[in-house]
């Protein structure tokens, strides 16, 4: 079926899963505010939110199997959108599941916390769908404003408030850069639609156009902040440490996935024709992010900060895929995104389990000898660390993620051999801190008098179990996931136009 986006009712249909989530989130917001704060109410709203997300996942899967297409319009109807939606929805599902139990421990009562996650996810789905720079801006803001609040959710914690303030100020600053970039690109090309911009860029000589170049640069800075790529990463460790851990997990996975997916779509669909202009800035951004993330992580003693620097390094790996500018690069990008999301989410779930009320016990010393008291948890954490590192077999899907990224980088028309070398070398450096966590858990004796971490709730255990299982299973049979990500890549503008023009 081909949606005619100029027709409002067909536009609504093409926006179906997004609208379901938005309408449900608004109804839940009313319900959340209806009753006085209590843990029972918070759990009830959380359960309803999980049901809503499951329904949206179902609808998205149904949409993705029908081979839908659309005419040229404000939103895209393609597999890349559905794939991004699914990653973000899974992240939101995990964040709410972890949050329901974490909030009880930390005595965070507002039931709205879960609804805000839903609103942020609605923003991510808008981002995944956006084919117009106006929608990109609205999606980023819808997502970010909800996350600013979520980062400061724990009102008793001064750290949480500080993280929230830093995220808000730098996030708003980055949004202004993004918006000015959009304005200048609109000024240079006369359109905010990505495909039209793409066609005009291919047709005209924009590689020397000053307004276009400055606009592209500002857009790169804005996205650099949102995806936390060095040198625009200063906020990430502080915000990740201060925010409640389920929200940290949400920010490190779903927020990054949505921002990266939009980044990739803008870069391929709108700016694909001026690769000469953006190639070397993206190249350097990738190299610096990999280098800074991995080397600074070596000196971190707090697990949440360590994972924050690890996520900065992973932004660098994903930027390598963007720099290739090929379909193989986009497929590797999606595959890597899935691998990273699973491992990172699982690692934060373990951090929640080992942590104690007041968001303490997140230091590396608290993991000493974990193997002796909670072997299952230690094995799960080891799998997540090895997967983030890209270790074969025990790291499961993480190894294949890096493998395809390297293949895409080397086989690109403009070979990224030097960047591939940087990727491999920094991965070796990353072993220094990932394996250190494993060493501390398995080889150090449990300190005298250290309390055994309490048994986590069923939902937290479920998240850890599903993440481990998915990593190992996809690590044994990666071919289906790879086929799925190959089928889900965004197309360059010329091909896009061919698809869109054909049915008319």
């Amino acid at each position: 079926m081909i949606f005619d986006l100029a027709n409002p009712s067909q536009l609504m249909q093409a926006f179906g899963p997004d609208l379901l989530l938005m309408a449900g989130a608004m109804a839940l917001m009313l319900w959340a505010a209806w009753r006085p704060e209590s843990h029972e109410h918070q759990r009830a709203v959380g359960q309803a939110s999980l049901v809503l997300i499951a329904a949206t996942i179902g609808l998205t899967l149904w949409f993705s199997t029908r081979g839908l297409q659309s005419t040229l319009g404000v939103i895209a109807v393609d597999n890349f959108r559905w794939a991004t939606d699914l990653v973000c929805l899974l992240g939101a599902f995990g964040a709410i599941a972890l949050g329901m139990e974490y909030n009880v421990r930390e005595r965070i009562m507002p039931a709205e916390s879960h609804v805000l996650v839903l609103f942020a996810t609605a923003g991510m789905m808008v981002l995944a769908a956006a084919r117009d720079l106006m929608l990109v801006f609205l999606g980023i803001e819808l997502m970010s404003v909800a996350i600013y609040v979520l980062a400061g959710l724990n009102r008793r914690s001064a750290k949480s408030a500080e993280g929230s303030l830093k995220y808000f100020l730098l996030g708003a600053f980055a949004s202004a850069f993004l918006l000015y970039g959009i304005a200048l690109i609109y000024g240079a090309t006369g359109s905010t639609n990505m495909v039209e911009i793409g066609l005009r860029v291919v047709g005209g000589n924009f590689s020397q156009h000053p307004m276009m170049l400055v606009g592209t640069g500002l857009l790169l800075v804005g996205f650099g902040f949102k995806i936390a790529a060095a040198p625009f990463h200063m906020w990430a460790p502080d915000v990740y440490e201060g925010a409640p851990t389920p929200i940290t997990a949400f920010m490190a996975t779903a927020v990054k996935a949505a921002a990266f997916a939009t980044f990739l779509r803008v870069w391929i669909e709108a700016l694909g024709g001026m690769g000469d202009a953006w190639f070397s800035p993206v190249w350097w951004l990738a190299a610096v992010a990999m280098f800074v993330g991995n080397t600074v992580a070596l000196s971190q003693r707090n697990l949440k900060r360590l994972l924050a620097y690890s996520s900065i390094a992973h932004s660098g790996y994903l930027l390598v895929a963007v720099a290739t500018g090929t379909l193989a690069g986009s497929a590797a990008f999606l595959f890597y995104l899935v691998a990273y999301t699973l491992a990172s989410f699982g690692a934060f779930a373990v951090v929640i389990t080992v942590g104690r009320a007041g968001d303490t016990n997140n230091e590396l010393v608290d993991y000493e000898g974990l193997w002796q008291v909670r072997p299952g948890l230690a094995i799960a954490m080891a799998v997540f660390m090895l997967s983030l590192m890209g270790f074969p077999i025990f790291g499961g899907v993480g190894f294949f993620g890096k493998w395809y990224l390297l293949m895409a980088a080397i086989e690109a028309p403009r070979p990224l051999t030097a960047l591939a070398v940087v990727l491999v070398l920094t991965s070796v450096v990353s072993a220094g801190y990932y394996l250190n966590v494993v060493r501390v858990m398995f080889m150090k004796p449990r300190p005298e008098g250290a309390e055994t971490p309490a048994q986590a709730g069923a939902l937290t255990r479920g998240v850890v179990f599903v993440a481990v299982a998915a990593i190992l299973v996809l690590g044994v049979i990666p071919s289906r996931a790879i086929g799925w990500s190959r089928a889900s890549v965004p197309r360059a503008p010329q091909m896009q136009a061919a698809v869109v023009d054909a049915p008319r």
Binding site: A161, A172, Y180
Partner: protein, 97 residues
């Protein structure tokens, strides 16, 4: 007129950026961010003279977003004031590294 408007908005945007980077008071930083957003609005309005109404539609969206951001941002600044009794970023440094 177009070139002058674009130049003015570029100057305003730069003033906003310099303000964000040099000031230490959270509220003044936030005001500088608003200045940046409004500089962009000026660009959009100026461009709508050349390309039609899209730019003006964009301005309406931007103003709505800026209002939502202001509501959330001021609430966050109040939350931090309750903990720290200050909104000066030089004195707010629990998180480091």
């Amino acid at each position: 007129m177009l070139v002058e408007s674009l130049a003015l908005s570029a100057v305003l945007f730069t003033i906003g950026v310099v303000g964000v980077l040099t000031r230490r008071n959270a509220i003044i930083i936030f005001m500088c961010v608003e200045l940046m957003l409004n500089a962009v609005n000026l660009t959009f309005v100026a461009l709508s003279k050349v390309y039609g109404a899209t730019g003006q539609v964009f301005v309406v969206f931007t103003m709505t977003v800026a209002a939502a951001e202001a509501a959330v941002g001021l609430a966050i600044i109040i939350a931090i004031f309750r903990h720290q009794r200050t909104v000066n970023l030089s004195n707010i440094n629990l998180l480091k590294g």
